[in-house]
């Protein structure tokens, strides 16, 4: 009898394991409500993991749903490190990826995997034509636009006005050349020598993470270099303007780190919090870095101002900046009703009424669509306004994240590990080509 019971239990367990393999997905609910079909959009948004932005997004979605009662938006938090896993798992569970809000660097992976489609096929033509070309250009992957920008930012310098003025300098005469910038740095360093409250005179991030890679690449462009050629390959970094830009950029990092004006291996978020605490005089970031600066204390707007990168950077550099943007990506396989809902939602989020508060108080940035032309931009960005049109675009490649992150390793090799600039660049080329050619 005992044997029979044991055998029955074993069989039951075996079959229950087999039963675990089954399962089906759930369809997006779509019911009729009068003449208008009800639709649900699953909206994956990286910004929901940041408190200030999450509050704004939740309120915006709620207000949009109140205006469009046939649309239900289900928001899902997703971050860069896990987005593909999240999407893949959700798709396997029958959950749709209808809309994604993320960074430009996400585009290649999402486009290659077939998660997103061209917004040109979804958004109304009149609205789509209102995007500024130079921002939209950065959303292209393999000659197709795969995202639309919400707003954009060039690289700019956050400056603590109070610390600068205390050292006898004036923002009215902020340097427009690299040499002038170095003079400022020296003056500030001399003034704050021995002051333990001021840890950084001019901060540049060198931690080996993707945001740092983009930041270093922006500096390289400001020095007049080009990293990715028009064919999507690595540009020739061993001769001409590119070599000059790379060498001058590396020397600038060495000058800053070697003199103790910046710390090695810090992330942008480290500088943001230190700047908010009043410990950093200047550092290079995107405009929306202010969101994390303002989390530190309530009075950060009193001392925070911005400046463009100097218009003369080294031999050939014009202080040109790469366009960075937060953008909407639209899921593939949407029904017509869902496409209409996505169109309405993106238009709603790209209007002056919706965005003015956000662009002034939460994520400072410049507008990327003519619908927001009348939008008041935060006065904090006034000082950097000359740089907002001094931008260049770079072809998007699937290995962009790794290729840019390796730039941080190159800088650290040269600055901290005693490698010559030639060897550091050659080593970088080997690493970058490894990723590009895989």
């Amino acid at each position: 009898m005992k044997r029979k019971i044991a055998a029955a239990l074993a069989m039951a367990m075996t079959f229950s394991l087999a039963a675990c393999g089954g399962g089906g997905g759930t369809d997006t609910p779509s019911t009729s409500n009068g003449e208008q079909e009800n639709v649900t959009l699953r909206f994956y948004n990286y910004a929901l993991s940041e408190t200030a932005k999450a509050d704004w997004w939740n309120a915006t979605v709620e207000a949009f749903e109140a205006e469009n009662d046939w649309i239900d938006i289900e928001t899902v938090t997703v971050d860069y490190n896990s987005m593909i896993q999240t999407f893949t798992n959700d798709l396997a569970s029958g959950l749709a990826v209808d809309m994604v809000y993320g960074e430009v660097s996400w585009i290649p992976a999402l486009a290659e995997s077939g998660f997103v489609q061209s917004p040109e096929d979804v958004l109304s033509a009149d609205f789509y034509s209102g995007y500024y070309d130079y921002v939209l250009e950065q959303m292209k992957y393999n000659d197709t636009v795969y995202a639309v920008p919400h707003y954009y930012s060039p690289s700019l310098i956050f400056v603590n006005k109070d610390l600068v003025e205390a050292a006898g300098l004036s923002m009215d005469s902020f340097p427009t050349t690299l040499d002038g910038l170095k003079e400022w740095i020296e003056t500030l360093a001399a003034y704050y020598q021995g002051d333990t409250n001021v840890t950084t005179i001019f901060g540049l991030t060198t931690a080996e993470v993707s945001a740092t890679g983009a930041n270093i690449n922006a500096m390289y462009n400001a020095f007049g270099g080009t990293l990715i050629n028009d064919q999507g390959g690595l540009a020739d970094l061993t001769s001409g303007d590119n070599l000059t830009a790379m060498t001058e950029m590396l020397d600038f990092y060495k000058y800053l780190i070697g003199s103790g004006y910046t710390q090695e291996n810090l992330k942008l978020k480290d500088y943001r919090s230190s700047f908010g605490a009043g410990n950093v005089v200047m550092y290079v970031d995107q405009s929306w870095g202010y969101a994390q600066i303002s989390e530190v204390s309530d009075n950060t707007s009193d001392f925070t101002v911005t400046a463009s990168l100097p218009g003369t950077m080294g031999t050939n550099g014009k202080g040109e900046s790469l366009v960075e943007s937060h953008c909407f990506m639209i899921g593939s396989g949407l029904s017509d009703a869902q496409k209409e809902a996505v169109d309405l939602f993106i238009q709603y989020c790209t209007s002056t009424g919706t965005m003015e508060d956000y662009l002034n108080n939460i994520g400072l940035a410049y507008v990327a669509h003519e619908n927001m032309e009348d939008c008041q931009i935060s006065p904090i960005l006034d000082g950097a306004s000359s740089g907002k049109d001094n931008v260049v675009t770079q072809p998007l490649i699937s290995a962009a994240t790794s290729v840019q992150t390796e730039m941080a390793s190159m800088v650290l090799n040269y600055v901290s590990n005693g490698v010559s600039s030639e060897d550091a660049v050659n080593s970088y080329i080997t690493e970058a080509e490894y990723y590009i050619n895989q």
Binding site: A10, A18, S113, G114, G260, Q263, N265, L266, Q438
Partner: protein, 313 residues
């Protein structure tokens, strides 16, 4: 030798053999759930991963359900040619050896102290449990704050002990010291469990044998080397095996503390595998690293088990 036979059957087989067959079948039936589990969740994924390591398998293969294509060992040759594989194997081995040896030695010393009936031993044992119960990611964050530059505790202490001469010491930013930063965090996390396991083993050493050795004039070190440690052989074997495996597959500490940097100085096989598969979305290459990693771990554990083979094995 004759066997009893069952009546009424054309072919007469020994009852002993029938019973044995029945027992074997019954055992197999009882084992069936475990076998199905093993095959489904261990064997098939491993085989799948090994097959994937020989293929060009990208994100699109995963999302569009397109089979991977055989690529002539390209994943392995590319990793080897770039030097990444050798470098990450070396870093992994150094990390595992250093962490396991230091964990074992420190844990053994702690276990000996706790076994010497000192005052407050029970309290110490309870306190020692804390690092072990803290999740590994939290351990990483905790040590990241301690190591932080320029406001970390370590930076502060170095500043004090050097009289303010060293002001920019960042253990995780230096290629020579970054791995040791991770090893320190791993030791903090793993020593308590190892110490408690060794202590449990130590307390099972028969007192009468220790007493007999004392009477025979054996010194403390002699008793430790010739009686205590041999008696603890099976406990040492299990706990060190666990420690080796734990550190071979260590990823959370590297992810939170260094992410493989600076300049690849802490890129272990775990970090390399993650980067290839989930940063560059080259699942074939990630699987190749995983296959090498698995083989290496099997070899190391096999060799270790051979060395520590006991009579019971």
């Amino acid at each position: 030798m004759t066997f009893p036979v069952e009546a009424g059957k054309k072919k007469q087989r020994p009852a002993f053999r029938d019973q044995k067959t029945k027992d074997v079948l019954f055992c197999l039936l009882l084992l069936l759930p475990a076998i199905v589990l093993c095959i489904t969740f261990i064997i098939i994924p491993i085989i799948d991963s090994v097959i994937m390591s020989f293929q060009d398998y990208r994100l699109v293969n995963l999302t569009q359900n397109i089979p991977g294509e055989w690529n002539n060992f390209s994943n392995y040759t590319r990793l080897w040619g770039s030097g990444r594989l050798q470098s990450s194997i070396m870093i992994t081995v150094v990390f595992v050896v250093a962490t396991v040896v230091l964990t074992f030695v420190t844990a053994l010393i702690l276990a000996l102290i706790l076994n010497s009936k000192i005052r407050g031993a029970r309290l110490l044992r309870s306190i020692m449990m804390i690092p072990w119960v803290v999740p590994t990611v939290i351990t990483g964050l905790l040590w990241m704050w301690i190591f932080a530059n320029p406001y970390g505790l370590l930076q502060y202490l170095v500043g004090i002990f050097t009289g303010g001469h060293v002001t920019n010491f960042s253990i995780l930013s230096n290629t020579d010291t970054a791995l040791w930063g991770v090893i320190i965090a791993a030791l903090w996390k793993q020593i308590p469990l190892m110490a408690l396991l060794l202590l449990a083993g130590m307390q099972n050493v028969p007192d009468d044998i220790i007493e007999a050795a004392k009477i025979d004039g054996a010194s403390y070190v002699q008793r430790l080397v010739y009686i205590v440690l041999p008696y603890m052989k099976s406990v040492i074997s299990v706990s060190v095996s666990m420690c080796i495996i734990e550190n071979f597959k260590q990823y959370p500490l590297f992810a939170t503390l260094t992410n493989g940097g600076p300049t690849g100085a802490t890129t272990t096989l775990a970090v390399l595998s993650y980067d290839e598969a989930f940063v560059n979305y080259n699942y074939g290459s990630g699987a190749a690293v995983t296959t090498v990693w698995l083989l290496l771990m099997i070899i190391v554990v096999f060799v270790f088990r051979r060395i520590f083979r006991t009579d019971n094995d």
